[in-house]
Point group: C2
DNA sequence: GTCAAACCTTTGACATTTCAAATATCGTCC
DNA sequence: GGACGATATTTGAAATGTCAAAGGTTTGAC
């Protein structure tokens, strides 16, 4: 490649605002992944230290908290994006701790419905408030306008990904 | 709060384009988390179906691929954001599959260096190419300019989070 | 009514994950 | 040259995660 060719190419790339060149999607993914891991680990640590809870337990309880009537395990599995088998164990442990209660409805004995106990609601309520504060703190240096933009644009990413899944995952 | 005060507040919120009101950071976090899970699961499924590999193994091999001399397990742990104990098991299994090789350098017998084998390099190379394509496909509906913006802005989030960690995590 | 297909959850095998404690080695101070 | 603190990895317990297969239950077709 001659000097002038090289200069031209560089210019084009710069003009396109993509000096990173190819693999932009890959780079975005790696950054999303590492950022998500970072935040997850921080939340996990704080949940553990301040409440003796785990993140998956918190996630599961969050779903039950907004459905006071309780949810079937399959529905919980979908909402938490966790496999069925995993939900079984999670709910078992939460039940052992008295935070969740399992009920088999009269109509359909195949079904198990999980529901927060009073203790579970109290417990989750405290964790949720702290959790929200942690996130505000962690993102304190990001402009609110940027946070909104990110929320919107990541929604677009999620949409695109949903439309290009190989498996049979549709909603 | 009087009625007129309330009305004023509502108006401000609407004008700011934040009818979601508070908890913007929380909403961003939930969306980041679910999107990341969605993509992870898709990549996991494809790695499994097409290559018989797992995502953590792929991540680990990716680090070794760009450091052909190999990496100490502690360094691998930092780069993959995985705990030390976890790296031990991952490397063990990869070694059993003949993809990675462990060496203890002469100078310091505390250290273990993991390095891709020839088979590991070939294997990873194929997976990496496919992996990059999967991401491009999944994000195909997102404008390149948006992808760039996201990359930049998520960088800002990561920065902010890094500066507000409670633990002793600094780089 | 009965059988088969569909549905919901659990189970079992295995991999990944964290944390804390244990192990092993190195470097240094005296 | 021995003890101590710092480093580096491994181990062990418990939880989370996937997948596939097995268990009950219900429903619908006949």
């Amino acid at each position: 490649m001659t000097e002038s060719e090289s200069a031209t190419v560089d210019l084009e790339i710069i003009v396109q605002g993509a000096q990173e060149g190819k693999k932009l999607e890959l780079r975005l993914w790696l950054r999303m992944l590492s950022t998500t891991k970072l935040i997850s680990q921080e939340i996990r640590r704080r949940l553990r230290n301040e409440f003796g809870a785990t993140l998956p337990q918190f996630d599961l309880m969050a779903q039950l908290y907004r459905e006071r009537e309780g949810l079937r395990l399959g529905e919980l599995s979908k909402r938490t994006m966790v496999t069925n088998g995993n939900v079984t164990g999670l709910v078992e442990r939460l039940e052992a701790d008295g935070l969740v209660q399992r009920v088999t409805p009269d109509g359909d004995r195949r079904v198990t419905v999980a529901k927060l106990t009073a203790k579970g609601e109290t417990s989750f309520s405290a964790m949720a408030a702290a959790h929200e504060g942690w996130l505000r703190d962690m993102m304190a240096d990001v402009e609110p306008a940027i946070v909104s933009e990110l929320w919107r644009d990541i929604g677009a990413v999620k949409s695109s990904v949903s439309n290009h899944l190989s498996g049979a995952d549709f909603d």
